[in-house]
Symmetry: C2
Subunit: 320 residues, 2 copies
Amino acid sequence: MKENIADKLLECIDKKVNPCIVGLDPALEQIPEHLKKSKDRNSFETVRDVIIEFNKLIINAVEDIVPAVKIQTAFYEAYGSRGMEALEETIRYAKNKGLIVIEDAKRNDIGNTAKAYAEGHLGKVSLIDGTLKPSLDVDMITVNPYLGSDSIEPFIEACKEYEKGIFILAKTSNKSSREIQNKTTKKGKTIYETVAQYIDKAGKDMIGKRGYSAIGAVVGATYPREAKKLRKQMPNTIFLVPGYGAQGGKAKDITHCFNSDGYGAIISSSRGIIFAYKEEPYKSMFCPEEFYMASRKAAKDMSIDIIKNLEKQNKLPKGW
Amino acid sequence: MKENIADKLLECIDKKVNPCIVGLDPALEQIPEHLKKSKDRNSFETVRDVIIEFNKLIINAVEDIVPAVKIQTAFYEAYGSRGMEALEETIRYAKNKGLIVIEDAKRNDIGNTAKAYAEGHLGKVSLIDGTLKPSLDVDMITVNPYLGSDSIEPFIEACKEYEKGIFILAKTSNKSSREIQNKTTKKGKTIYETVAQYIDKAGKDMIGKRGYSAIGAVVGATYPREAKKLRKQMPNTIFLVPGYGAQGGKAKDITHCFNSDGYGAIISSSRGIIFAYKEEPYKSMFCPEEFYMASRKAAKDMSIDIIKNLEKQNKLPKGW
Protein backbone atom coordinates (compact mmCIF):
# COMPACT_ATOMS: atom_id res chain seq x y z
CA MET A 1 0.00 0.00 0.00
CA LYS A 2 1.23 3.47 -0.93
CA GLU A 3 1.59 6.25 1.60
CA ASN A 4 -1.16 8.82 1.17
CA ILE A 5 -2.11 12.22 2.57
CA ALA A 6 -3.99 10.53 5.43
CA ASP A 7 -0.74 8.83 6.49
CA LYS A 8 1.02 12.18 6.47
CA LEU A 9 -1.80 13.73 8.50
CA LEU A 10 -1.70 10.90 11.07
CA GLU A 11 2.06 11.24 11.29
CA CYS A 12 1.65 14.95 12.11
CA ILE A 13 -1.09 14.12 14.63
CA ASP A 14 1.19 11.61 16.37
CA LYS A 15 4.13 14.01 16.35
CA LYS A 16 2.09 16.74 18.02
CA VAL A 17 0.07 14.22 20.09
CA ASN A 18 -2.97 16.25 19.08
CA PRO A 19 -5.94 15.74 16.75
CA CYS A 20 -7.02 19.42 17.06
CA ILE A 21 -6.38 21.97 14.35
CA VAL A 22 -6.66 25.74 14.11
CA GLY A 23 -8.93 27.51 11.64
CA LEU A 24 -7.45 30.65 10.09
CA ASP A 25 -10.56 32.79 9.51
CA PRO A 26 -9.03 36.27 9.79
CA ALA A 27 -12.21 38.39 10.12
CA LEU A 28 -10.69 41.87 9.91
CA GLU A 29 -12.78 43.52 12.63
CA GLN A 30 -11.59 40.95 15.16
CA ILE A 31 -7.87 41.39 14.48
CA PRO A 32 -6.15 43.28 17.34
CA GLU A 33 -5.87 47.03 16.85
CA HIS A 34 -2.11 47.22 17.34
CA LEU A 35 -1.62 45.25 14.10
CA LYS A 36 -3.68 47.83 12.21
CA LYS A 37 -1.57 50.90 12.89
CA SER A 38 -0.59 51.25 9.24
CA LYS A 39 -0.49 54.69 7.62
CA ASP A 40 -2.46 53.50 4.65
CA ARG A 41 -5.62 52.37 6.38
CA ASN A 42 -7.82 52.56 3.35
CA SER A 43 -6.45 50.08 0.82
CA PHE A 44 -6.76 46.42 -0.07
CA GLU A 45 -2.96 46.15 0.08
CA THR A 46 -3.01 47.01 3.79
CA VAL A 47 -5.73 44.44 4.44
CA ARG A 48 -3.51 41.85 2.75
CA ASP A 49 -0.50 42.83 4.88
CA VAL A 50 -2.48 42.86 8.13
CA ILE A 51 -3.98 39.42 7.45
CA ILE A 52 -0.56 37.98 6.61
CA GLU A 53 1.04 39.42 9.76
CA PHE A 54 -1.83 38.20 11.94
CA ASN A 55 -1.72 34.70 10.46
CA LYS A 56 2.05 34.40 10.77
CA LEU A 57 1.94 35.31 14.46
CA ILE A 58 -0.82 32.76 15.05
CA ILE A 59 1.05 30.07 13.10
CA ASN A 60 4.28 30.81 15.02
CA ALA A 61 2.35 30.43 18.27
CA VAL A 62 0.71 27.09 17.47
CA GLU A 63 3.08 25.39 15.02
CA ASP A 64 4.48 23.01 17.64
CA ILE A 65 1.01 22.20 19.01
CA VAL A 66 -1.24 21.48 16.02
CA PRO A 67 -0.80 19.07 13.09
CA ALA A 68 -2.67 21.22 10.57
CA VAL A 69 -4.35 24.53 9.86
CA LYS A 70 -7.69 25.00 8.15
CA ILE A 71 -7.81 28.11 5.98
CA GLN A 72 -11.26 29.54 5.34
CA THR A 73 -11.02 30.87 1.79
CA ALA A 74 -13.97 33.29 2.05
CA PHE A 75 -12.12 35.72 4.35
CA TYR A 76 -9.31 36.08 1.79
CA GLU A 77 -11.29 35.91 -1.44
CA ALA A 78 -13.61 38.67 -0.16
CA TYR A 79 -10.69 41.05 -0.79
CA GLY A 80 -10.19 39.91 -4.39
CA SER A 81 -6.69 39.50 -5.78
CA ARG A 82 -5.02 41.23 -2.80
CA GLY A 83 -6.88 38.86 -0.49
CA MET A 84 -5.72 35.91 -2.59
CA GLU A 85 -2.13 37.10 -2.13
CA ALA A 86 -2.71 36.82 1.62
CA LEU A 87 -4.12 33.33 1.08
CA GLU A 88 -1.10 32.29 -1.00
CA GLU A 89 1.41 33.67 1.50
CA THR A 90 -0.43 32.00 4.41
CA ILE A 91 -0.41 28.65 2.60
CA ARG A 92 3.32 28.93 1.86
CA TYR A 93 4.16 29.96 5.42
CA ALA A 94 2.15 27.16 7.05
CA LYS A 95 3.58 24.52 4.70
CA ASN A 96 7.13 25.69 5.42
CA LYS A 97 6.42 25.12 9.10
CA GLY A 98 5.59 21.50 8.30
CA LEU A 99 1.86 21.94 8.90
CA ILE A 100 -0.73 20.18 6.76
CA VAL A 101 -2.80 22.85 5.01
CA ILE A 102 -6.51 22.25 4.60
CA GLU A 103 -8.37 24.81 2.51
CA ASP A 104 -11.99 25.14 3.56
CA ALA A 105 -13.31 26.36 0.23
CA LYS A 106 -16.39 24.15 -0.21
CA ARG A 107 -15.84 24.21 -3.96
CA ASN A 108 -17.57 22.33 -6.67
CA ASP A 109 -18.77 22.49 -10.25
CA ILE A 110 -19.12 20.17 -13.22
CA GLY A 111 -16.74 18.66 -15.77
CA ASN A 112 -13.99 20.95 -16.98
CA THR A 113 -14.79 23.53 -14.36
CA ALA A 114 -14.40 21.12 -11.46
CA LYS A 115 -11.10 20.11 -13.07
CA ALA A 116 -9.97 23.75 -13.08
CA TYR A 117 -10.76 24.03 -9.35
CA ALA A 118 -8.99 20.74 -8.59
CA GLU A 119 -5.87 21.65 -10.56
CA GLY A 120 -5.73 25.18 -9.18
CA HIS A 121 -6.13 24.24 -5.53
CA LEU A 122 -4.57 20.77 -5.31
CA GLY A 123 -2.64 20.09 -8.49
CA LYS A 124 -0.79 21.98 -11.17
CA VAL A 125 -2.01 24.46 -13.75
CA SER A 126 -0.86 24.77 -17.31
CA LEU A 127 0.94 27.96 -18.31
CA ILE A 128 1.12 29.49 -21.80
CA ASP A 129 4.01 27.32 -22.97
CA GLY A 130 2.40 24.20 -21.51
CA THR A 131 4.58 24.08 -18.38
CA LEU A 132 2.73 22.70 -15.39
CA LYS A 133 3.16 24.66 -12.15
CA PRO A 134 1.54 24.30 -8.73
CA SER A 135 -0.79 27.21 -8.01
CA LEU A 136 -2.50 27.37 -4.59
CA ASP A 137 -1.11 23.92 -3.82
CA VAL A 138 -2.88 23.10 -0.55
CA ASP A 139 -2.78 19.56 0.88
CA MET A 140 -6.52 19.07 1.18
CA ILE A 141 -9.68 20.96 0.26
CA THR A 142 -13.35 20.74 1.27
CA VAL A 143 -15.80 19.84 -1.52
CA ASN A 144 -19.60 20.27 -1.77
CA PRO A 145 -21.47 17.18 -3.06
CA TYR A 146 -24.77 18.72 -4.28
CA LEU A 147 -23.86 18.24 -7.96
CA GLY A 148 -23.14 14.53 -7.61
CA SER A 149 -20.23 12.19 -8.24
CA ASP A 150 -19.17 13.38 -11.70
CA SER A 151 -18.45 16.76 -10.10
CA ILE A 152 -16.27 15.17 -7.42
CA GLU A 153 -14.28 12.87 -9.71
CA PRO A 154 -11.93 15.60 -11.02
CA PHE A 155 -10.95 16.32 -7.40
CA ILE A 156 -10.35 12.61 -6.78
CA GLU A 157 -8.21 12.44 -9.92
CA ALA A 158 -6.13 15.34 -8.62
CA CYS A 159 -5.80 13.58 -5.25
CA LYS A 160 -4.45 10.48 -6.98
CA GLU A 161 -2.07 12.36 -9.23
CA TYR A 162 -0.69 14.76 -6.64
CA GLU A 163 -1.09 12.73 -3.41
CA LYS A 164 -3.58 15.19 -2.01
CA GLY A 165 -6.89 14.80 -0.19
CA ILE A 166 -10.44 16.14 -0.01
CA PHE A 167 -13.12 16.38 2.66
CA ILE A 168 -16.62 16.05 1.24
CA LEU A 169 -19.43 17.81 3.13
CA ALA A 170 -21.63 15.10 4.65
CA LYS A 171 -23.36 16.61 7.67
CA THR A 172 -22.49 20.24 8.34
CA SER A 173 -22.53 21.90 11.76
CA ASN A 174 -25.11 24.63 11.11
CA LYS A 175 -28.75 24.60 12.18
CA SER A 176 -30.26 24.54 8.66
CA SER A 177 -28.09 21.61 7.58
CA ARG A 178 -31.09 19.33 8.23
CA GLU A 179 -33.16 21.01 5.46
CA ILE A 180 -31.45 19.03 2.70
CA GLN A 181 -28.96 16.78 4.48
CA ASN A 182 -31.47 15.11 6.81
CA LYS A 183 -34.20 14.57 4.25
CA THR A 184 -35.03 10.88 4.17
CA THR A 185 -35.45 9.19 0.81
CA LYS A 186 -38.05 6.57 0.00
CA LYS A 187 -35.48 3.88 0.75
CA GLY A 188 -35.18 5.17 4.32
CA LYS A 189 -31.73 6.69 3.92
CA THR A 190 -30.96 10.35 4.60
CA ILE A 191 -29.10 12.51 2.10
CA TYR A 192 -26.07 12.72 4.41
CA GLU A 193 -26.00 8.90 4.59
CA THR A 194 -26.21 8.75 0.79
CA VAL A 195 -23.19 11.06 0.62
CA ALA A 196 -21.42 8.99 3.28
CA GLN A 197 -21.99 5.83 1.25
CA TYR A 198 -20.36 7.50 -1.73
CA ILE A 199 -17.41 8.74 0.37
CA ASP A 200 -16.86 5.26 1.81
CA LYS A 201 -17.01 3.60 -1.59
CA ALA A 202 -14.91 6.16 -3.46
CA GLY A 203 -12.31 6.05 -0.70
CA LYS A 204 -11.88 2.27 -0.76
CA ASP A 205 -9.15 2.26 -3.41
CA MET A 206 -7.39 5.24 -1.88
CA ILE A 207 -6.57 3.81 1.52
CA GLY A 208 -3.07 4.43 2.86
CA LYS A 209 -0.71 2.39 5.02
CA ARG A 210 -2.49 3.22 8.24
CA GLY A 211 -5.96 2.34 7.02
CA TYR A 212 -7.36 5.77 6.23
CA SER A 213 -8.46 7.05 2.87
CA ALA A 214 -7.52 10.30 1.10
CA ILE A 215 -11.23 11.12 0.84
CA GLY A 216 -12.47 12.54 4.11
CA ALA A 217 -15.84 13.79 5.30
CA VAL A 218 -16.98 16.99 6.98
CA VAL A 219 -19.12 16.04 10.00
CA GLY A 220 -20.26 18.84 12.32
CA ALA A 221 -19.44 18.61 16.04
CA THR A 222 -22.96 19.82 16.78
CA TYR A 223 -24.65 16.56 15.69
CA PRO A 224 -23.29 13.72 17.88
CA ARG A 225 -26.11 11.30 17.01
CA GLU A 226 -25.45 11.64 13.30
CA ALA A 227 -21.69 11.50 13.89
CA LYS A 228 -22.05 8.15 15.69
CA LYS A 229 -23.94 6.65 12.75
CA LEU A 230 -21.54 8.09 10.22
CA ARG A 231 -18.50 6.80 12.12
CA LYS A 232 -19.80 3.24 11.67
CA GLN A 233 -20.72 3.82 8.06
CA MET A 234 -17.30 5.14 7.02
CA PRO A 235 -14.64 3.22 9.00
CA ASN A 236 -11.73 4.28 6.77
CA THR A 237 -12.68 7.93 6.50
CA ILE A 238 -11.10 10.84 8.36
CA PHE A 239 -13.69 13.28 9.67
CA LEU A 240 -12.99 16.98 9.58
CA VAL A 241 -15.07 18.18 12.51
CA PRO A 242 -15.91 21.88 12.76
CA GLY A 243 -18.19 23.34 15.44
CA TYR A 244 -16.15 22.86 18.62
CA GLY A 245 -16.37 25.79 21.02
CA ALA A 246 -17.96 28.90 19.48
CA GLN A 247 -20.58 26.81 17.64
CA GLY A 248 -21.45 24.75 20.72
CA GLY A 249 -19.84 21.33 20.02
CA LYS A 250 -18.71 19.63 23.26
CA ALA A 251 -15.66 17.36 23.63
CA LYS A 252 -17.65 14.44 25.05
CA ASP A 253 -19.88 14.47 21.96
CA ILE A 254 -17.02 14.99 19.55
CA THR A 255 -15.27 11.81 20.66
CA HIS A 256 -17.94 9.86 18.74
CA CYS A 257 -16.15 11.06 15.61
CA PHE A 258 -13.07 8.99 16.49
CA ASN A 259 -12.60 5.31 15.79
CA SER A 260 -11.67 2.94 18.62
CA ASP A 261 -8.01 3.26 17.54
CA GLY A 262 -8.14 6.93 18.58
CA TYR A 263 -7.75 8.22 15.04
CA GLY A 264 -10.18 9.10 12.29
CA ALA A 265 -11.01 12.67 13.22
CA ILE A 266 -9.47 16.12 13.31
CA ILE A 267 -11.28 18.74 15.34
CA SER A 268 -11.19 22.31 14.11
CA SER A 269 -11.72 25.53 15.99
CA SER A 270 -11.34 28.98 14.46
CA ARG A 271 -12.68 32.00 16.38
CA GLY A 272 -12.28 30.19 19.71
CA ILE A 273 -8.52 29.96 19.09
CA ILE A 274 -7.43 32.84 16.89
CA PHE A 275 -9.55 35.43 18.69
CA ALA A 276 -9.18 33.84 22.16
CA TYR A 277 -7.64 37.11 23.41
CA LYS A 278 -11.11 38.71 23.31
CA GLU A 279 -12.81 36.14 25.58
CA GLU A 280 -12.39 34.87 29.11
CA PRO A 281 -10.39 33.27 30.61
CA TYR A 282 -7.74 34.40 28.11
CA LYS A 283 -8.77 38.06 28.14
CA SER A 284 -7.68 38.38 31.78
CA MET A 285 -4.47 36.43 31.19
CA PHE A 286 -3.06 38.23 28.15
CA CYS A 287 -3.15 41.78 26.82
CA PRO A 288 -4.20 42.25 23.14
CA GLU A 289 -0.53 42.61 22.13
CA GLU A 290 -0.08 39.02 23.35
CA PHE A 291 -3.07 37.75 21.40
CA TYR A 292 -1.00 34.93 19.90
CA MET A 293 -0.09 33.72 23.39
CA ALA A 294 -3.82 33.60 24.17
CA SER A 295 -4.27 31.55 21.00
CA ARG A 296 -1.47 29.22 22.04
CA LYS A 297 -3.06 28.69 25.44
CA ALA A 298 -6.51 28.19 23.91
CA ALA A 299 -5.12 25.64 21.43
CA LYS A 300 -3.47 23.75 24.28
CA ASP A 301 -6.65 23.85 26.37
CA MET A 302 -8.68 22.52 23.47
CA SER A 303 -6.22 19.68 22.92
CA ILE A 304 -6.33 18.75 26.62
CA ASP A 305 -10.14 18.82 26.59
CA ILE A 306 -10.38 16.49 23.59
CA ILE A 307 -7.63 14.12 24.74
CA LYS A 308 -9.14 13.87 28.25
CA ASN A 309 -12.44 12.81 26.71
CA LEU A 310 -10.73 10.34 24.36
CA GLU A 311 -9.06 8.82 27.41
CA LYS A 312 -12.41 8.53 29.23
CA GLN A 313 -13.77 6.53 26.33
CA ASN A 314 -10.64 4.37 26.10
CA LYS A 315 -9.88 5.75 22.69
CA LEU A 316 -6.42 7.16 23.29
CA PRO A 317 -4.06 6.13 20.46
CA LYS A 318 -1.30 3.68 21.40
CA GLY A 319 1.82 5.38 22.68
CA TRP A 320 0.20 8.76 23.48
CA MET B 1 -42.60 48.14 -5.92
CA LYS B 2 -38.89 48.91 -6.10
CA GLU B 3 -36.82 48.20 -9.18
CA ASN B 4 -34.58 45.19 -8.60
CA ILE B 5 -31.78 43.39 -10.44
CA ALA B 6 -34.35 41.27 -12.31
CA ASP B 7 -35.85 44.45 -13.74
CA LYS B 8 -32.41 45.58 -14.87
CA LEU B 9 -31.78 42.18 -16.43
CA LEU B 10 -35.12 42.20 -18.27
CA GLU B 11 -34.39 45.70 -19.50
CA CYS B 12 -31.08 44.50 -20.96
CA ILE B 13 -32.84 41.47 -22.48
CA ASP B 14 -35.40 43.73 -24.16
CA LYS B 15 -32.74 46.14 -25.38
CA LYS B 16 -30.77 43.34 -27.04
CA VAL B 17 -33.94 41.38 -27.95
CA ASN B 18 -32.10 38.34 -26.67
CA PRO B 19 -32.37 36.06 -23.63
CA CYS B 20 -29.05 34.33 -24.43
CA ILE B 21 -25.84 35.09 -22.58
CA VAL B 22 -22.18 34.21 -23.09
CA GLY B 23 -20.15 32.25 -20.56
CA LEU B 24 -16.58 33.45 -20.14
CA ASP B 25 -14.73 30.21 -19.29
CA PRO B 26 -11.27 31.01 -20.65
CA ALA B 27 -9.69 27.54 -20.62
CA LEU B 28 -6.12 28.42 -21.54
CA GLU B 29 -5.46 25.55 -23.94
CA GLN B 30 -8.41 26.61 -26.12
CA ILE B 31 -7.38 30.25 -26.48
CA PRO B 32 -6.07 30.96 -30.01
CA GLU B 33 -2.32 30.68 -30.40
CA HIS B 34 -1.79 34.17 -31.84
CA LEU B 35 -2.84 35.66 -28.47
CA LYS B 36 -0.13 33.65 -26.73
CA LYS B 37 2.90 35.01 -28.57
CA SER B 38 4.27 36.65 -25.42
CA LYS B 39 8.00 36.50 -24.66
CA ASP B 40 7.34 35.46 -21.09
CA ARG B 41 5.45 32.23 -21.70
CA ASN B 42 6.12 30.74 -18.33
CA SER B 43 4.53 33.04 -15.76
CA PHE B 44 1.20 33.55 -14.05
CA GLU B 45 1.32 37.22 -15.09
CA THR B 46 1.25 36.23 -18.76
CA VAL B 47 -1.70 33.93 -18.17
CA ARG B 48 -3.51 36.86 -16.57
CA ASP B 49 -2.75 39.13 -19.51
CA VAL B 50 -3.76 36.53 -22.12
CA ILE B 51 -7.07 35.82 -20.37
CA ILE B 52 -7.84 39.55 -20.12
CA GLU B 53 -7.05 40.17 -23.80
CA PHE B 54 -9.10 37.16 -24.88
CA ASN B 55 -12.09 38.18 -22.77
CA LYS B 56 -12.01 41.78 -23.94
CA LEU B 57 -12.06 40.73 -27.59
CA ILE B 58 -15.00 38.39 -26.91
CA ILE B 59 -16.86 41.08 -24.96
CA ASN B 60 -16.26 43.64 -27.74
CA ALA B 61 -17.63 41.15 -30.26
CA VAL B 62 -20.85 40.33 -28.38
CA GLU B 63 -21.60 43.42 -26.29
CA ASP B 64 -24.38 44.64 -28.62
CA ILE B 65 -25.91 41.16 -28.87
CA VAL B 66 -26.13 39.76 -25.33
CA PRO B 67 -27.66 41.21 -22.16
CA ALA B 68 -25.20 39.58 -19.77
CA VAL B 69 -22.04 37.55 -19.39
CA LYS B 70 -21.55 34.63 -17.04
CA ILE B 71 -18.05 34.42 -15.64
CA GLN B 72 -16.91 31.00 -14.47
CA THR B 73 -14.74 31.77 -11.45
CA ALA B 74 -12.81 28.46 -11.48
CA PHE B 75 -10.84 29.32 -14.63
CA TYR B 76 -9.51 32.50 -13.00
CA GLU B 77 -9.12 31.31 -9.41
CA ALA B 78 -7.06 28.36 -10.61
CA TYR B 79 -4.25 30.86 -11.28
CA GLY B 80 -4.40 32.31 -7.77
CA SER B 81 -4.02 36.05 -7.21
CA ARG B 82 -2.92 36.70 -10.80
CA GLY B 83 -6.00 34.85 -12.02
CA MET B 84 -8.16 36.91 -9.69
CA GLU B 85 -6.71 40.05 -11.28
CA ALA B 86 -7.98 38.75 -14.62
CA LEU B 87 -11.38 38.12 -13.02
CA GLU B 88 -11.50 41.65 -11.58
CA GLU B 89 -10.49 43.27 -14.86
CA THR B 90 -13.03 41.19 -16.80
CA ILE B 91 -15.81 42.17 -14.38
CA ARG B 92 -14.91 45.86 -14.67
CA TYR B 93 -14.71 45.72 -18.46
CA ALA B 94 -18.04 43.95 -18.90
CA LYS B 95 -19.83 46.26 -16.48
CA ASN B 96 -18.44 49.32 -18.28
CA LYS B 97 -19.99 47.96 -21.48
CA GLY B 98 -23.38 47.95 -19.75
CA LEU B 99 -23.54 44.18 -19.48
CA ILE B 100 -25.03 42.45 -16.44
CA VAL B 101 -22.25 40.36 -14.85
CA ILE B 102 -23.17 36.99 -13.40
CA GLU B 103 -20.41 35.20 -11.50
CA ASP B 104 -20.78 31.45 -11.65
CA ALA B 105 -18.94 30.67 -8.43
CA LYS B 106 -21.34 28.19 -6.79
CA ARG B 107 -20.29 29.52 -3.40
CA ASN B 108 -21.63 28.75 -0.01
CA ASP B 109 -20.72 28.33 3.64
CA ILE B 110 -22.25 29.05 7.02
CA GLY B 111 -22.78 32.14 9.18
CA ASN B 112 -19.95 34.65 9.15
CA THR B 113 -18.21 32.86 6.31
CA ALA B 114 -21.21 33.04 3.98
CA LYS B 115 -21.40 36.72 4.89
CA ALA B 116 -17.77 37.18 3.85
CA TYR B 117 -18.51 35.57 0.47
CA ALA B 118 -21.66 37.69 0.01
CA GLU B 119 -19.92 40.95 0.90
CA GLY B 120 -16.86 40.17 -1.19
CA HIS B 121 -18.70 39.17 -4.33
CA LEU B 122 -21.92 41.22 -4.21
CA GLY B 123 -21.56 43.88 -1.54
CA LYS B 124 -18.85 45.90 0.13
CA VAL B 125 -15.97 44.84 2.36
CA SER B 126 -14.65 46.67 5.38
CA LEU B 127 -11.12 48.08 5.20
CA ILE B 128 -8.77 48.71 8.15
CA ASP B 129 -10.23 52.11 8.99
CA GLY B 130 -13.77 50.77 8.66
CA THR B 131 -14.41 52.25 5.20
CA LEU B 132 -16.70 50.07 3.11
CA LYS B 133 -15.57 49.45 -0.47
CA PRO B 134 -16.94 47.22 -3.21
CA SER B 135 -14.59 44.32 -3.96
CA LEU B 136 -15.49 41.92 -6.80
CA ASP B 137 -18.85 43.69 -7.13
CA VAL B 138 -20.66 41.45 -9.61
CA ASP B 139 -24.40 41.86 -10.22
CA MET B 140 -25.38 38.28 -9.49
CA ILE B 141 -23.72 35.10 -8.24
CA THR B 142 -24.62 31.40 -8.23
CA VAL B 143 -25.09 29.79 -4.79
CA ASN B 144 -25.04 26.12 -3.70
CA PRO B 145 -27.94 25.13 -1.37
CA TYR B 146 -26.54 21.95 0.28
CA LEU B 147 -25.97 23.69 3.64
CA GLY B 148 -29.55 24.95 3.93
CA SER B 149 -31.30 28.29 4.31
CA ASP B 150 -29.17 29.84 7.04
CA SER B 151 -26.23 29.61 4.65
CA ILE B 152 -28.17 31.41 1.90
CA GLU B 153 -29.56 34.21 4.05
CA PRO B 154 -26.34 36.27 4.14
CA PHE B 155 -26.43 36.31 0.31
CA ILE B 156 -30.08 37.40 0.37
CA GLU B 157 -29.23 40.17 2.84
CA ALA B 158 -26.50 41.39 0.48
CA CYS B 159 -29.01 41.29 -2.43
CA LYS B 160 -31.38 43.50 -0.46
CA GLU B 161 -28.75 45.94 0.68
CA TYR B 162 -26.89 46.27 -2.62
CA GLU B 163 -29.69 45.56 -5.14
CA LYS B 164 -27.97 42.45 -6.37
CA GLY B 165 -29.20 38.95 -7.19
CA ILE B 166 -28.37 35.26 -6.76
CA PHE B 167 -29.11 32.08 -8.65
CA ILE B 168 -29.50 29.07 -6.37
CA LEU B 169 -28.60 25.66 -7.85
CA ALA B 170 -31.85 23.70 -8.16
CA LYS B 171 -31.35 21.11 -10.91
CA THR B 172 -27.93 21.18 -12.52
CA SER B 173 -27.20 20.13 -16.10
CA ASN B 174 -24.70 17.31 -15.42
CA LYS B 175 -25.44 13.60 -15.50
CA SER B 176 -24.80 12.90 -11.81
CA SER B 177 -27.09 15.72 -10.70
CA ARG B 178 -29.78 13.10 -10.08
CA GLU B 179 -27.74 11.41 -7.33
CA ILE B 180 -28.76 13.98 -4.72
CA GLN B 181 -31.06 16.39 -6.53
CA ASN B 182 -33.55 13.77 -7.75
CA LYS B 183 -33.77 11.79 -4.53
CA THR B 184 -37.41 11.65 -3.46
CA THR B 185 -38.24 12.27 0.18
CA LYS B 186 -40.88 10.39 2.13
CA LYS B 187 -43.33 13.20 1.36
CA GLY B 188 -42.94 12.50 -2.34
CA LYS B 189 -40.96 15.60 -3.15
CA THR B 190 -37.52 15.57 -4.78
CA ILE B 191 -34.61 17.51 -3.33
CA TYR B 192 -34.61 19.88 -6.31
CA GLU B 193 -38.32 20.57 -5.68
CA THR B 194 -37.56 21.22 -2.02
CA VAL B 195 -34.92 23.74 -3.09
CA ALA B 196 -37.38 25.24 -5.60
CA GLN B 197 -39.97 25.69 -2.88
CA TYR B 198 -37.42 27.59 -0.81
CA ILE B 199 -36.42 29.76 -3.80
CA ASP B 200 -40.05 30.59 -4.56
CA LYS B 201 -40.84 31.47 -0.95
CA ALA B 202 -37.65 33.44 -0.25
CA GLY B 203 -38.15 35.38 -3.49
CA LYS B 204 -41.70 36.47 -2.74
CA ASP B 205 -40.73 39.66 -0.90
CA MET B 206 -38.02 40.50 -3.43
CA ILE B 207 -40.13 40.79 -6.55
CA GLY B 208 -39.45 43.78 -8.81
CA LYS B 209 -41.67 45.94 -10.99
CA ARG B 210 -41.88 43.37 -13.77
CA GLY B 211 -42.85 40.47 -11.55
CA TYR B 212 -39.52 38.70 -11.20
CA SER B 213 -37.58 38.13 -8.03
CA ALA B 214 -33.92 38.85 -7.29
CA ILE B 215 -33.51 35.20 -6.30
CA GLY B 216 -33.11 33.06 -9.39
CA ALA B 217 -32.59 29.35 -9.94
CA VAL B 218 -30.06 27.33 -11.92
CA VAL B 219 -31.98 24.80 -14.04
CA GLY B 220 -30.01 22.72 -16.54
CA ALA B 221 -31.06 22.75 -20.21
CA THR B 222 -30.47 19.01 -20.29
CA TYR B 223 -33.53 18.17 -18.14
CA PRO B 224 -36.65 19.49 -19.95
CA ARG B 225 -39.11 17.40 -17.92
CA GLU B 226 -37.78 18.77 -14.63
CA ALA B 227 -37.63 22.28 -16.10
CA LYS B 228 -41.32 22.15 -16.99
CA LYS B 229 -42.27 21.21 -13.43
CA LEU B 230 -39.97 23.81 -11.93
CA ARG B 231 -41.32 26.54 -14.22
CA LYS B 232 -44.79 26.04 -12.72
CA GLN B 233 -43.45 25.80 -9.20
CA MET B 234 -41.50 29.08 -9.34
CA PRO B 235 -43.52 31.53 -11.48
CA ASN B 236 -41.60 34.64 -10.34
CA THR B 237 -38.14 33.13 -10.61
CA ILE B 238 -35.63 33.76 -13.39
CA PHE B 239 -33.91 30.57 -14.49
CA LEU B 240 -30.23 30.61 -15.36
CA VAL B 241 -30.06 27.78 -17.88
CA PRO B 242 -26.65 26.27 -18.67
CA GLY B 243 -26.19 23.26 -20.94
CA TYR B 244 -27.19 24.62 -24.37
CA GLY B 245 -24.97 23.39 -27.18
CA ALA B 246 -21.81 21.67 -26.00
CA GLN B 247 -23.66 19.89 -23.17
CA GLY B 248 -26.52 18.76 -25.42
CA GLY B 249 -29.43 21.03 -24.47
CA LYS B 250 -31.75 21.71 -27.44
CA ALA B 251 -33.66 24.95 -28.05
CA LYS B 252 -37.06 23.26 -28.28
CA ASP B 253 -36.54 21.77 -24.82
CA ILE B 254 -35.10 24.94 -23.35
CA THR B 255 -38.23 26.93 -24.17
CA HIS B 256 -39.95 25.13 -21.26
CA CYS B 257 -37.82 27.30 -19.02
CA PHE B 258 -39.64 30.44 -20.17
CA ASN B 259 -42.96 31.70 -18.84
CA SER B 260 -45.82 32.39 -21.24
CA ASP B 261 -44.81 36.09 -21.21
CA GLY B 262 -41.56 35.09 -22.93
CA TYR B 263 -39.39 36.00 -19.96
CA GLY B 264 -38.14 34.13 -16.92
CA ALA B 265 -35.04 32.48 -18.38
CA ILE B 266 -31.57 33.34 -19.57
CA ILE B 267 -29.77 30.72 -21.60
CA SER B 268 -26.04 30.45 -21.23
CA SER B 269 -23.46 28.98 -23.56
CA SER B 270 -19.73 29.08 -22.93
CA ARG B 271 -17.46 26.86 -25.04
CA GLY B 272 -19.97 26.84 -27.92
CA ILE B 273 -19.59 30.62 -28.22
CA ILE B 274 -16.15 31.64 -27.03
CA PHE B 275 -14.36 28.76 -28.76
CA ALA B 276 -16.70 28.65 -31.78
CA TYR B 277 -13.67 29.29 -34.04
CA LYS B 278 -12.54 25.71 -33.44
CA GLU B 279 -15.76 24.04 -34.59
CA GLU B 280 -17.81 23.90 -37.76
CA PRO B 281 -19.47 25.77 -39.36
CA TYR B 282 -17.47 28.66 -37.89
CA LYS B 283 -14.08 27.04 -38.42
CA SER B 284 -14.56 27.25 -42.20
CA MET B 285 -15.89 30.79 -42.04
CA PHE B 286 -13.23 32.49 -39.90
CA CYS B 287 -9.50 32.07 -39.40
CA PRO B 288 -8.27 31.77 -35.76
CA GLU B 289 -7.25 35.46 -35.78
CA GLU B 290 -10.94 36.24 -36.30
CA PHE B 291 -12.02 34.01 -33.40
CA TYR B 292 -14.13 36.80 -31.91
CA MET B 293 -16.05 37.13 -35.18
CA ALA B 294 -16.80 33.41 -34.96
CA SER B 295 -18.04 34.00 -31.42
CA ARG B 296 -20.20 36.89 -32.60
CA LYS B 297 -21.73 34.73 -35.31
CA ALA B 298 -22.26 31.83 -32.90
CA ALA B 299 -23.92 34.13 -30.35
CA LYS B 300 -26.25 35.44 -33.07
CA ASP B 301 -27.06 31.92 -34.27
CA MET B 302 -27.86 30.81 -30.74
CA SER B 303 -30.16 33.78 -30.23
CA ILE B 304 -31.98 33.04 -33.49
CA ASP B 305 -32.36 29.39 -32.53
CA ILE B 306 -33.89 30.20 -29.13
CA ILE B 307 -36.13 33.00 -30.41
CA LYS B 308 -37.42 30.85 -33.28
CA ASN B 309 -38.44 28.20 -30.79
CA LEU B 310 -40.04 30.76 -28.46
CA GLU B 311 -42.05 31.98 -31.44
CA LYS B 312 -43.18 28.45 -32.28
CA GLN B 313 -44.54 28.10 -28.76
CA ASN B 314 -46.20 31.54 -28.87
CA LYS B 315 -43.92 32.74 -26.12
CA LEU B 316 -42.31 35.71 -27.87
CA PRO B 317 -42.28 38.76 -25.54
CA LYS B 318 -44.54 41.65 -26.60
CA GLY B 319 -42.86 44.09 -28.95
CA TRP B 320 -40.04 41.76 -30.02
